[in-house]
Symmetry: C2
Subunit: 424 residues, 2 copies
């Protein structure tokens, strides 16, 4: 079974946007043990689209086509498919009715241009899109099924998960059982992780993959076949032993999610005081529905005046130690916690760069504090100063991890391999 992908869109081809849909899809398929053979990116030229549909239809069995289903004139996937197959576009009446109903429900008249989204190649099988105006569809041409999906990421993802993957599975005879385990790491680069893991003798059918998404690297352990799946638990245990504190979560793609779940479960409340992270910690939690149950407030006290006025930090502390210091961040954490009586107070203060560093406190220096009912924990770390964004992301991640450890009754301050700690 040969599976390929065709990504359409001038803006993807011309590099104005990076094609995250393609990476996401390849990854989602891989999680199901489905391998993609190749991927073609083409612009919005009718002739190019027709040529690539025809050409690939002789080589692939299933082709995931993304984009070009919108209502505007540069959306021409349907038209190109109809021409490639030599058949007319015809109205898909169920979808036109759905569109009209959707606009009526939202108190609007449907723009004429949206009618185009109900015109499909004559032999097309419609694929439902429950969250957008572009329906998907599939058409058989030569040896291939071409499966068309919308470009809007959340519509695309839903259609791939709910309709494309089941369709692929329905087309294969042999179905190999696949299992994936994911370990989220913080503090090592990919090559260091790979060096460590070469010590493990992987059994037949088990492979390791790495996925880097700032500031984490996720280790993925794939097992194909019953025997390999049976060995997975032991492999995971071995990896955890080898990597220790570097592993910060299992089967979760961010620490924000872990902390969110633990706070909800434990009915614990949190207040956050952020300086260099500037709202990242708070907004990472607010992204999850239900966070209002535990999050009292997140105070981005960016200026010294604000640290004093809002968090009751002692001006003398700021004078003696500076804003980026263990002393200040401890008062910030405690100030945030006691303001309206939260169980935990989490605080950051650091130099995200590119300017503002000094010999003593270079760019990348960040103090992080956690106030709890048992006392205040804090550390000052030196993160790689490669970018402002990276420093802020790493600071948020370590802050979340300190809270996670406290919620788990584990030691709050631990080593993360590559981040140096300042003496207290």
């Amino acid at each position: 079974m040969k599976i390929e992908m065709i990504c359409t869109g001038e803006e993807v081809l011309s590099g104005q946007i990076i094609d995250t849909n393609a990476a996401w899809a390849a990854n989602a398929l891989m999680n199901q043990g489905i391998e993609m053979q190749q991927r073609i990116t083409v612009g919005d030229r009718l002739d190019d689209l027709i040529a690539v549909f025809q050409e690939r239809s002789h080589h692939a069995d299933i082709i995931l086509v993304n984009g070009g289903l919108g209502p505007t004139s540069d959306d021409m996937s349907s038209e190109a498919m109809a021409l490639a197959k030599g058949e007319p576009l015809v109205e898909c009446t169920p979808w036109r009715l759905r569109l009209e109903e959707w606009f009526t429900r939202n108190g609007r008249v449907m723009p004429v241009s949206n009618l185009k989204q109900a015109m499909l190649p004559e032999s097309a099988v419609m694929v439902d899109n429950p969250v957008g105006t572009a329906c998907g569809f599939r058409v058989k041409l030569n040896q291939a099924w071409l499966f068309f999906t919308p470009g809007v990421p959340f519509e695309f993802k839903r259609m791939v998960n709910e309709q494309f993957i089941p369709f692929v599975q329905s087309q294969t005879n042999e179905h190999v059982e696949v299992s994936v385990r994911k370990l989220l790491t913080l503090g090592y680069g990919e090559s260091s992780l790979a060096d460590k893991l070469t010590q493990i003798d992987l059994p037949e059918g088990v492979t390791v993959g790495y996925r880097s998404f700032m500031p984490y690297i996720e280790i993925k352990l794939f097992a194909r076949g019953e025997e390999a799946i049976g060995s997975l638990a032991n492999i995971v245990a071995l990896v955890k032993t080898l990597l220790g504190n570097v592993i910060v979560a299992e089967e979760r793609s961010s620490l924000a999610q872990v902390v969110h779940e633990r706070l909800l479960e434990g009915a614990q409340s949190l207040s956050v005081a952020e300086s260099c992270t500037g709202g990242l910690i708070t907004s990472g939690l607010v992204a999850f529905p239900g966070s209002s149950a535990y999050l009292h407030h997140g105070l981005v006290t960016y200026s010294n005046e604000s640290k004093v006025a809002v968090l009751d930090v002692n001006p003398q502390t700021l004078d003696d130690h500076g804003a980026v210091s263990i002393a200040t961040v401890e008062e910030m954490a405690e100030g945030a916690r006691t303001l309206i009586g939260s169980d935990y107070g989490l605080a950051t203060s650091g130099i995200a760069g590119p300017d503002g560093g000094s010999d003593q406190k270079p760019v990348g220096t960040v103090a992080i504090g956690l106030a709890t009912s048992k006392g205040v924990y804090s550390q000052m770390l030196k993160f790689p100063a490669r970018s402002r964004e990276l420093v802020r992301q790493l600071s948020s991640a370590v802050a979340y991890d300190m809270l996670r450890r406290a919620l788990n009754d584990e030691p709050v301050i631990v080593d993360y391999a590559s981040y140096a700690r300042f003496a207290k």
Copy 2:
């Protein structure tokens, strides 16, 4: 002249890393008026590489190949090219000497595996790499020149700029000047924008593109050729007249950036009080270096207690009107502004969903307030409730836009086409 790109590498194909080289290259070429026709991404399988080199060599004139020039066993671009052309790999002696010299200069003995990097297809023309161990090369096959470049981004970028683009230009006779103008819009969907813009009769050589990145849609006007470029200013003026308030920025990709620049220029200070946006407004500004010059603090007062304790909101106001109300958000904005004397105070309070809505205030209801030295402006809007993320992004965008308008001495409250406003 047909130009294509072939990206190699299992990790790019399988979505473990996003192919930023491809986007970068397409963009760099477009800036020179060179258009890329399509892009193919293939894994590290010898047969797949050979097939794609041969197949595309009948269609394209120049093919930029990226990756697969390293010293390890999964780097097989040279070998695949030699096999595709049916010629042997031979040592490129100048490059072997360069490699040996490079290792000697760095006090190291060259590993045997690096010898592989000096083995090129017999007919290859070597392309210098001044910053790495992988030389580039080009080979003519059928109608195409295949131009091979290293995968390491900074080596790749340098080779494209210094060698690939001049090579492409040497192969073309005509050189077309290209210009792009960008308009950021808020409040209309892509189809509504397109409907509006069909009223404009675009001159030859001018095309319109849309780029959607939540919550904005960017309109891009491309002009090719001197005459088209000359007409661009008038077209932009026409688009601005047609769309009015819907256009919120020019040549900028977010309102956060516009507000950041205007606050810095005007030496004005800002305090933010966020509820439903949960730190998005603040962290969008902190993302820019230099924001500490104007941002006093961003207070995510998520709970009612916090609104009272931190922002001095009157508990009676919360009782009478609720947290999501004009009255509350005005007190929040004024509270944030006066706490340490900022020029502006910006506040949001809303129901981001998926739960928490009522008949009177359904999910998507958001109150936004802006306190200034001249008074407090506020409005309560109903955003589409498609997702929590969307409601939060739209709320942030409208909040930024109110501030932008105040900074420009424009009316603060305007209509954005598709968001309904609640009576005050």
